[in-house]
Symmetry: C2
Subunit: 186 residues, 2 copies
């Protein structure tokens, strides 16, 4: 996992960076100011998706983790609005299309392996459908507890209902404030 | 995807919260101060893993995205050191065991669906094996470019080498400073 990207930062990548900078045709100031521009292939997984983390540009809060398809990434870059791929609904999804809680994307960042994205966004309303600013509003308390079946796993939106070999449950404490009332939005 | 967790925040969850708070046996102050403690099953995927995002507790910077197995999550909670599961090496992995760039975990957060984790950490050295503080040190410039094959995808550590139906490449500009020299560490 760590060998490929290390190699990509070597001499070959420097040559690519020169070509990419010289080949800019839109004359955008952002492209011009880059001193280390290089092409990076996105390593979509077997399911055709990469995880995409959304972070609030103002507060730094990690808002949510979802998944991006090639089309979702293209639309995000083209429109400046965060798009994802909904695994449960099996469709392209513009964040906020239903709730109005859109994400205006300041930056899309790609990690060292090219297999994860970070959307740095201005979040309208709250990111979480439960009404909280962040989907990560629950803090684990103590250690985990093994559970032997998942019939009450609360993951109703998941694709398959097969029991897992090993299950874990954690106790959580809710942190933060609701940004909106979900009953009024959904 | 969004229906299950919404239900879990209803009356049944309130009853669970009372039971969990009353059932605390370690007398820890953190458990006692929680007013909304409830058990949450972790929804590990078909591969037995959940994505785990690491965020710097001091700066708020998103450092990396990796994956946690049940054992990795247990060890993280028990030791206070971030553990992950390496998909490429197919083994449990304590961050920093090789490099010394450990992550001391302040909080483990779980998202609304229970299928993603956030480790809030104090990062020793830099998180990225390339020497940068964050693995997300590259910002996408412009839009994406479709590529028809991935023979040079730079994802040498991935498990399979099958071509993908659709590939995307993005131009990136590197942001941030190296925190260490990878040649001296690895």
């Amino acid at each position: 996992m760590n060998d490929g990207p290390g190699t990509a930062h070597g001499d070959a990548a420097d040559a690519d960076a020169d070509a990419a900078a010289g080949g800019s045709t839109d004359g955008s100031p952002r492209a011009a100011e880059g001193t280390d521009v290089e092409p990076v292939p996105i390593a979509f997984g077997d399911d055709g998706l990469v995880p995409a983390v959304a972070q609030d540009a103002e507060t730094g809060e990690v808002l949510m983790l979802a998944y991006a398809s090639p089309t979702a990434l293209e639309r995000t870059l083209e429109t400046g609005r965060a798009h994802y791929y909904s695994r449960s609904r099996a469709e392209l999804w513009e964040k906020g299309a239903t709730s109005g809680h859109t994400q205006t994307v300041r930056d899309v960042r790609v990690d060292c392996d090219g297999d994860a994205l970070l959307y740095v966004v201005d979040q309208a309303g709250g990111a979480c459908h439960t009404g909280y600013e962040s989907c990560f509003h629950r803090i684990v308390e103590g250690t985990a507890t093994s559970v032997s079946d998942d019939t009450d796993a609360g993951d109703g939106g998941r694709d398959e209902e097969e029991p897992r070999e090993a299950g874990l449950s954690v106790a959580v404490r809710t942190d933060g404030q609701r940004a909106f009332d979900p009953d009024e939005v959904y």
